[in-house]
Amino acid sequence: MTTPHGGTPETPATGGGFDAHRPPSPELLSDCVHCGFCLPACPTYTLTGEEMNSPRGRIYQMQLINEGEAPLSSAAVGHFDNCLGCMACVTACPSGVQYDRLIESVRPQIERNWARSRSDRAFRGLIFRLFPYPRRLRVAAVFGALYQRLGIRRALSRTGLLRRLPARLRALEALMPDVPLRSALRRTPERTPAVRTGLGEAAETETGAPPQSAAATAGQDPAGPAPEPPAARRTVGMVTGCVQQVFFAQVNEATVRVLTAEGCDVIAPVAQGCCGALSEHAGREEEAVVRARRLIDTFEPLGVDVIVVNVAGCGSALKEYGRLLADDPEYRERAEAFAAKVRDVSELLAELTPLAPRHPVPARLAHHEACHLVHAQGVREQPRTVLRSVPELDVVDIPEADMCCGSAGVYNLIQPGPAEELGRRKADNVRATAPDAVVTANPGCLLQISRHLDKQLPVLHPVQVVDASIRGVRPW
């Protein structure tokens, strides 16, 4: 019997499968009109062709579970876990469905209310005891470097032992970048002052007026007694990232050099911990909350104008601190104030009229847009604007640009199957543009793409290209 708006007698109602702590909001769920425009944007639907592995299908399942028409089952958990959280569907949706908020409310529900298998728990435990801790990562990186340097990897792969590892461990092994020992042990200096040359003129050519910090305003006072050095254009607090600072120290160094060359004072607190992005995107809400509070505590006293981040995944979480801590009376407003200052490095650079002269970089770059930048933060044009400041640089878009590369935080470790398919697909699309190098604003994408390109092409953060252009050196 077909019944409009009817339930079905086949599925027994078991009472809501979600608990009362921030279940997906019925209002947000009802925004979905089931039009299906999200389907072609979704990587897992593209791979499987399955309705339940599409955003529309996942919203449908959330609705059924919310209304108690279906329990939180292993099937449901599997389909939610399968979601990369790339948020391409949010960009594609004409009805303005906030799938990002929906899936982020479901993930902690799963962590609280679903008993994962012992091996799954153990593997996730390993990831979350390693990646958010730069010190442990450094140790791992040293072992990793030795492992590669001493030819253990080659020896192991000859024995065929690597192939016999469980898929997830194999993914972890394959992702390991070639990190020079030196790089793994480098740290970003706590304070780097702006390069002062040319700063005087910068104040006039500036487009948007900078939010002035107390220190900056004092320095600009024309009636000041001594000819003080010109004030920095911005006082910038820098989030150094966990994977970023260990595996991609050179990206942080480039960021500091470019920002200071553009007239910003850069403060990178040494004591800053993980921002909690990995935890939050995996539904480990409590961990994320603790880390968010700590990071706010670290940056608040610095009184910076802007908090800059060069990791798209971290940036998307930092900008959501207000929502994450909405229930915390002590931190709510502070979190909102913090989030309001967060900018991706490309956003800040696009705001600042270039001050430091750029040298030509005659090369063809394939630009891979990180999902957490373009879909989660809506930052699409700024990286292009910044790269356009480099003479003779040819930046090309990749076919299927909106499709995730499969990295998605720790997704490529937890779901190696689909992540590999997406990684190969992305690598093929990159090769189709015949570039000299690839740029992308997220270390996860960097690792994933270089792995699937078999490390045949240099893969860089856009800020490294700008840095090379300013210094007049070859970027790779």
Binding site: T3, E10, S30, D31, V33, T48, E51, P94, S95
Partner: protein
């Protein structure tokens, strides 16, 4: 009823990863783009080839199971709603381009390829696929064949039936046959034409040959604002009467404009009561000359502002706004029905005033966005299910469709009859017409297993008293026989 033995047979034929039977997974297939109708299927299968579709259909035929083919599930008439205890055959994994001959301007596709993908693949060769339903980024060519889909540009270029030259289909008994041919015309009855638009009731198309058109040398697009819907309607009539064949003439009223702007920021004027999107394409000199005429006509009919797209990006944005309209209405209303009906172009203004009156009488808002060039209306009835307005909305939507028939038009322009309008079919067709349709259907599907309950009204579906079988006059005359 599907038992474990039968499920295993499906799994053996298609592979376990291609058969879904988990209750929650099945429920995600219980409706298509029209969520008002829902039915949980007993099984969903996801074949990858004609052979696998044939295997699945054969199993259904053997067990007497009804089956429903499904593309992307974007249909707006409930055409892909499952049948209770039946099988859904999802074609979403059949996404291969089987052959592409740019010189011959021909492409052979599996049914799950999206409409937009065809043009994307053809583009480097200066070719495109003309029918362009607004859901083209997601809707599939298989679904287009089932619904005989049109789109904004069908006023000049025609519907799916004009662009699909051949079909490989799996008939409801599991056998495979070819309909049509590479040549544009083949002798004998046009079974290909019959199949296109049959909404999955005659079988499943598994290989679809489409013809491609050369990308026009020049495309010119404008948006003209009008102070009244009537003035915009007159401009449409004026354009058509002038002998110009526009590539597209679309109209949006103020509610539709508001929704589109909220979703896409395409630059439509929020203060216009009606906006016309007019596109011309063809040879450059001809296009330019006619475009000037169109602009003059719009001014003559009292346009308040004409915006001419200066770049291809701007044109794309105008179309993105227009094509997102249905779903965008979700931003200004919790729920809505998309209606689809056709009126003679000369009666557009009359139809719109009557819709406005009906909307006022029911106390529900109606947004209008439609293919004005061929009188294909898409009134969107806005309502709030939570506020108990759904019954009134359903009634209003049905009244609008029936008004279209009364004005000498049609129940559906391109979204199909499906489940939604099957019961309205007697408004448009007499008993004899419907009997012929049933006969035709039975010739392909004597057991009624292919998408039963769709298109043709049934007593069970429509609450009619089930009468005695009445033979068709041709049957009585001995011209045809009942199968």
């Amino acid at each position: 009823m599907i038992d474990t033995v039968l499920r295993r047979e499906f799994e053996a034929a298609l592979g376990t990863e291609s058969v879904l039977s988990d209750p929650l997974q099945l429920r995600t297939y219980e409706c298509d783009g029209l969520t008002g109708f829902r039915e949980v299927p007993a099984l969903v299968v996801l074949p990858r080839s004609t052979e696998e579709v044939a295997a699945a259909v054969s199993l259904c035929a053997k067990a007497g199971l009804p089956f429903v083919a499904r593309g992307a599930g974007t249909g707006l008439s409930g055409g892909a709603v499952p049948v209770a205890q039946g099988v859904v055959i999802s074609l979403a994994r059949m996404r291969q381009v089987l052959d592409f001959d740019p010189e011959d301007r021909r492409m052979v596709l599996q049914p799950g390829v999206t409409n937009a993908e065809i043009s994307r693949i053809a583009a480097p060769h200066g070719l495109y696929y003309a029918p362009d339903p607004s859901s083209q980024v997601v809707c599939t060519i298989g679904g287009n064949v089932a619904e005989n889909s049109g789109g904004a540009h069908c006023v000049k270029y025609g519907f799916t039936v004009h662009h699909v030259t051949a079909l490989r289909v799996v008939l409801p008994d599991g056998s495979v046959t070819e309909l049509g041919a590479d040549a544009p015309e083949s002798p004998g009855p046009d079974l290909r034409g019959l199949f296109i638009g049959s909404e999955g009731t005659l079988g499943i198309a598994t290989e679809i040959t489409v013809r491609l058109l050369r990308t026009p040398e020049s495309v010119r697009t404008l948006v003209a604002d009008f102070p009244t819907v009537e003035a915009a309607g007159e401009a449409v009539s004026g354009i058509m009467a002038s002998g110009i064949v526009p590539a597209a003439v679309e109209m949006l009223d103020s509610l539709a404009i508001e929704a589109c702007e909220a979703a896409v920021h395409a630059g439509y004027s929020l203060d216009a009561t009606a906006a016309l999107v007019v596109e011309l394409d063809g040879m450059e000199h001809e296009c330019d000359e006619q475009f000037e005429k169109v602009v003059a006509l719009c001014h003559e009919k009292g346009t308040t502002n004409v915006r001419i797209a200066t770049t291809s990006d701007e044109r794309a944005l105008i179309w993105k706004g227009r094509k997102a309209a249905f779903a965008a209405v979700g931003r200004i209303s919790p729920d809505y029905f998309v209606q689809d009906g056709v009126v003679p172009r000369t009666r557009l203004s009359e139809a719109l005033s009557r819709i406005a009156a009906m909307s006022g009488a029911e106390g529900l808002r109606v947004a209008n966005v439609f293919h004005a060039g061929d009188g294909n209306l898409h009134p969107l009835v806005l309502f709030d299910e939570g506020a108990g307005e759904s019954e009134r909305a359903e009634r209003l939507a049905a009244e609008i469709a029936e008004m279209c028939v009364e004005l000498g038009g049609s129940l559906s322009g391109e979204h199909g009859i499906g489940l939604d309008k099957a019961c309205s079919m007697p408004e448009m067709f007499g008993e004899t017409d419907l009997a012929v349709m049933r006969q035709l259907r039975a010739a392909f599907d004597p057991d009624g297993l292919a998408n039963p309950g769709k298109v043709l009204p049934t007593p069970r579906l429509c609450g009619e008293a089930s009468g005695r079988y009445r033979p068709h006059p041709l049957e009585e005359a001995g011209v045809i026989e009942r199968l």
